[in-house]
Each structure stands twice: as C-alpha cells, then as structure tokens.
C-alpha cells in the first residue's frame, strides 16, 4: 500500500495534519510530543472542541500539524490566556504547549498561578534544556556545566543557579490533579508518555482541576549534537537530573 495521505489518515485520524511539512529539525523531540498530543485528541474524539494555546519558540509550531483551533499567545503567557479562555468557554478542551524557555523562564508565574488556582486546563512543557529557536542559549533548565551559546564554559551554578524543577514546585498544590514528568528518550518511555497525556486530558474531561506534564526531550540543533548522540545525552544526562515520575494522579 502506498503511503498516501488518505491511507495515513485512515491510520492516524484527522487531528494529525500529515500533509504539513515539519519545521522541526531532524530528530527534534517536539515531533514526537506533537504526534502524541494529536493522537490523544484523536483517541478521545475531542478534536472539534479542542483549542491549543501555544507559546513562543519552536513549541509554537506544534499547532500547525494539528487540525484544531489555536492561539499563539505572547511569550510565556499561554496559561493566562488559557485561563481566560476556559472561563468564558468551559466546554472547550484547552491545553498549552510551551517550551522550557517560554514556561520556565518568562512564563513561570503564569503557569504556577494557573496550577495553584486549579484551573481545569492541561499545560505541557517540552523541556530540551535550551532556547532552541533563538540558537541554543541557556534556559532555566540547562544542566549544571552544560555548554550553551550563552554559557560557553558551561552553566555555572554559582552564577545561574540550578535547573528549575517545575513539577516538584507544583506537588504541594491541591488544585493540581495530574502531575508528571515524562520523556521521549526511548520507545518504552514514549508509550508511558502517551498514557500520561491521556490522563492529563481526562482530568479536563472530568473537570477535576489543573493537569501538567513536563516532557524531557532532545534538541539536536540546540545541543549541537547528532540526532543519535542527542538521544543518548538526553537519556544519560537530562534524565539523571529530570527524573521521569508520576508525582500525582487524582484522576480516578
């Protein structure tokens, strides 16, 4: 069978727009997470009422590959935009898709307050430990010693502090009903991430409260590594600091 778009659509459904050319770099972890999100929406049959609020950065491209309405918010503000949206239109499924720069740096207050309020939205942070789009600068999640465009001798924790652990900050918030850190570093991890995503969206279906997943993914371009090497580095280095964990599951 030829891999025509129609054939692929019968396999993957309508949400994932297979006719779009990816603007993600080869090997980018975003591609995997974006597909997982599309598959979750498709599996739940919520495509027509799902709205993405995406951040600024490579994560902002994510909605181009999904046949859903989308809002490109100002840098870091997706959770606040999603909060206002969900309040005015509670029947919509609203999720944010942001990078570690968008959410962990400029938008930290927005996401923490949305979490603390227990706003019934789903927030996703795709953490690749660098500002990818702007050329691999240090982000709040860059690892100690990590060489980036703005830390050419490695991240110095005396100067820049330690990588920020956002799910750990949300653990004590009762309004957070599903809280996990996942990764796409290998196939079993991707399957676990898919299960987590389903839970995070179901949280919204049941109107329980806030749901959050951090995805640890490689950025071969920003990390200045080959694709395979970047996945090895993701598994060995990133996961050593950002440990995949389901911190909280109150969806049952």
């Amino acid at each position: 069978m030829e891999n025509t778009q129609e054939n692929l659509s019968s396999l993957y459904g309508k949400t994932l727009m297979l006719d779009k050319l990816f603007s993600y770099c080869p090997g980018c972890g975003h591609g995997i997470v974006t597909r997982l999100v599309a598959e979750t929406i498709e599996a739940m049959g919520i495509r027509e009422k799902t709205v993405a609020v995406v951040g600024i950065g490579c994560g902002g491209f994510s909605h181009h590959y999904m046949d859903i309405d989308a809002i490109e918010a100002m840098h870091g503000r997706s959770p606040s935009v999603a909060t206002g949206f969900k309040l005015a239109s509670p029947d919509n499924f609203v999720f944010t898709y942001q990078g570690d720069g968008d959410m962990g740096a400029i938008g930290l207050a927005d996401v923490l307050h949305a979490a603390n309020k227990g706003v019934p939205i789903t927030c996703l942070m795709i953490n690749n430990t660098v500002f990818g789009m702007t050329g691999g600068q240090m982000s709040p999640t860059s690892l100690p010693g990590q060489i980036t465009a703005t830390t050419q001798k490695g991240r110095d924790t005396h100067l820049h502090g330690y990588p920020i652990l956002i799910p750990e900050m949300m653990r004590s918030m009762p309004g957070v009903k599903y809280l996990a850190r996942e990764t796409v570093a290998d196939a079993p991890a991707i399957r676990r991430a898919a299960k987590s995503l389903r839970k995070a969206f179901e949280c919204q279906e049941k109107n329980l409260g806030f749901a959050f997943i951090e995805f640890i993914v490689p950025c071969p371009t920003g990390l200045k590594k080959g694709v395979k090497e970047s996945y090895v580095w993701c598994k060995d280095q990133m996961l050593n600091y950002f440990k995949p964990t389901i911190f909280k599951d109150e969806t049952e």
Binding site: R47, E48, K49, T50, V51, V53, I56, H63, H64, D67, I68, D69, A70, I71, E72, A73, M74, R77, S80, V81, A82, T83, G84, F85, K86, L87, A88, S89, N92, A109, D110, H113
Partner: protein, 356 residues
C-alpha cells in the same frame, strides 16, 4: 430591572455600567485608584452569571482578557498607571489579533510608581500606545459616572464593530468622586454581535483557525499591518467624538478633557456672561483625536488654551489639529494635594490671554 438612579463612587458606577451592558468577565489586580471597580464587580457579577477574576499580576490580567476575547465573549479590565504599563505588550497583541475588549485606566500620577492621586499623565500611553508596533486602540475620555453609563453601549459597539480593544480613561479624581448616575434598563449589548466568523472555539463549525500576531513570512507581517491601517483610517473618518461650544465667535478656545473639560464647560458659560468670548472643545474620543472639531475655527480666534492634568500631552494633538492657524498656550500640572488646575487658575490664565 427598570431605569434607576444610584449614588455611587464613579469607579463603582463604571463597574455597574459595564455589567449592565453585557460584560460578564472582569479580570483585575488591585491598584489605587481603580480597585473599587473590581470590588464592586466581584459583588454584582455572579447575579448576571459572570465573575470577577482576580489574577496574580496585570500581565496575567491582560492575557486572561485576551483568552476570554478569543471565545468571542466580552471581557473587561480596570487598572491604573503601573498596571497599565504592564499590560502594554498584550494590548499590542490584542490590537494585532483584532480582539475586542473593554479597559479602564483610572489615571494616576507617574512616572514610575508616581503617586496614587489622580492625573491625566497617561494620555500619551493611551493614544500613542505603550506597546510595540503600528497599532491604535480607541480611547474614550470620561468626566463623570454618568459619562461612563452613557458611553458604555457605544464602547461595546466600537469594540465589536472594529474588533479592537476600547480603552476608557478617567482621571483618578473623577474616579474617586461620588455622584448620582442614572442607569437605563440593563441590556446585554455584547451578545448582539455575531462572532461566529472569527472566534477560536473549535473546528466543529469552521475549518481550522489560528490566531497569529507574528508572521512566518515577511509578506504576512506586511499584510497584517496594511489591514490594520485600513481599519484605523475608517475609525478616524467615522468615529471622532467631541463636544464644542461657542465656536462661532470665540476669541479664546479652551481645549480640555475629563474633569478639566467638565470644569471648562462651566467656566466658558460663566465667562460668556461676563461678555468674554470664550469657546471650548471637549474631546470624547482621544483616539481617534477629533481633528474635525478644529476644521472651522472662528475668524475672531486669537489663541487656543489647552488645560490638562499633566505637563502637556494632548497639547501635541491640539497643535496638529490647529496646524499653525492660531497660537497655542498650555496650562497644566500633575500631582500635589490639588492635582488639577482650579477654576480660578484657568479663569486667570484665560483672562490674561484674552487681554494680551
């Protein structure tokens, strides 16, 4: 609920008016002298099926307001000086995204934290835009609680017709005054506008829509700006509002808005009784600036006096509108225990200019 007359602080009148006209979501953060708007809306909105949402900062306020607007529903915010400054990025975003909303700047003294006492020092910020880019928002000047009641339906109509933020500015002195206002029967104007052609509430009834205020190609950025320019030209042509009086033979034309405009209306009438030929223009829209009010200036005109609670901001627009046809003078101050020009001060300056 029939027509009723209430004795309220003008900030409360603003809240009462926006809710009675269809605002169901009010996003705000406490700041003097605007806090009473949120205090009042928090009490009255639940009965209308709405909510006052207290956010953690004005950044979050403005962005939640933008999110609300993406659903096609009408949201509002109220703030003052520093809060308004924090919202500027998102106001630029909403102007670019063509999202309707209502905002109130209960203006206080700047710069920086300035002072909590009333002022008109945000004129530049309101009319030029403190955010980035070639954008404008419609700016309506209030001089009383009643003016908020009277202009609210117009503001909602403007916001939806042109899909733009509409900003009310009310100097903090007016905001803190308590006076009577008569409210017509409540009417949900916001629901009268069809938003199905643009709102972002899912692909059930339309192909994928996405809100993009940036661009992926240079031509997209150009097209966005050309579309906005065309819209702003229409607004400038059709939506100028002002009050003018005594222009047929005035030797002195006084231009003022907000509470100073309210005072000038009274002063001009008094000076006319003294056979002094004084007229006034009181702008209602600060953007678009009512240039048309200045088209036919009286032959007798000797001078234009601009009075503001700042160091001369609207003065620039008056000079542009007068375009050298008469000399302009300025009287204004900002801050202090009496943060405006008193009637006596304006009268003395007017007489001095008439005699010069």
């Amino acid at each position: 609920m029939p027509e009723e007359t209430l004795f309220l602080k003008n900030t409360e009148t603003f809240a009462e008016s926006m809710v009675r006209c269809g605002v169901r979501f009010h996003f705000a953060y406490p700041i003097t002298p605007a806090s009473d708007v949120m205090k009042h809306s928090a009490v009255i909105l639940p009965a209308f099926g709405g909510r006052m949402v207290q956010m953690e900062s004005e950044l979050a306020v403005a962005n939640a307001l933008a999110g609300c607007a993406c659903t096609g529903r009408l949201g509002a915010t109220s703030t003052s000086g520093p809060g308004m400054s924090l919202m500027q990025e998102t106001i630029s975003f909403m102007a670019g995204a063509e999202l309707p909303c209502l905002m109130l700047d209960s203006m206080r003294v700047g710069p920086g934290d300035g002072d909590i006492i009333g002022a008109q020092s945000n004129y530049f910020q309101a009319t030029r835009g403190g955010g980035h880019g070639d954008y404008r928002v419609i700016v309506l000047a209030l001089d009383s609680g009643q003016s908020a009641v009277d202009l609210m339906p117009t503001a909602i109509k403007l916001a939806y017709t042109y899909r733009t933020p509409v900003l009310f500015v009310m100097d903090g002195v007016t905001a803190q005054m308590t006076e009577t206002s008569t409210f017509p029967e409540p009417h949900d104007y916001a629901s009268e506008f069809d938003t199905s052609g643009w709102r972002y509430t899912g692909t059930k009834d339309h192909p994928k829509r996405f809100l993009l205020t940036g661009s992926y190609t240079h031509s997209q950025g150009y097209e966005l700006n050309e579309r906005l320019r065309a819209k702003y030209e229409i607004i400038k042509e059709k939506e100028q509002r002002w009050e003018a009086w005594g222009l047929e033979d005035a030797e002195l034309l006084i231009v003022a808005f907000g509470i100073q405009g309210r005072m000038v209306r009274e002063l001009a009438a008094r000076m006319r009784e003294e056979k002094k030929k004084v007229g006034y223009i009181v702008p209602i829209t600060l953007w678009p600036y009512p240039d048309k009010a200045f088209e036919k200036l009286p032959k007798e005109l000797k001078r234009v006096l601009v009075v503001e609670m700042n160091h001369g901001q609207m003065l620039d627009d008056v000079r542009l509108a007068v375009n050298g046809r008469a000399p302009t003078s300025f009287l204004g101050k900002t801050g202090g225990d009496t943060p405006l020009c008193t009637l006596a001060e304006i009268k003395a300056e007017a007489e001095r200019l008439l005699e010069a």
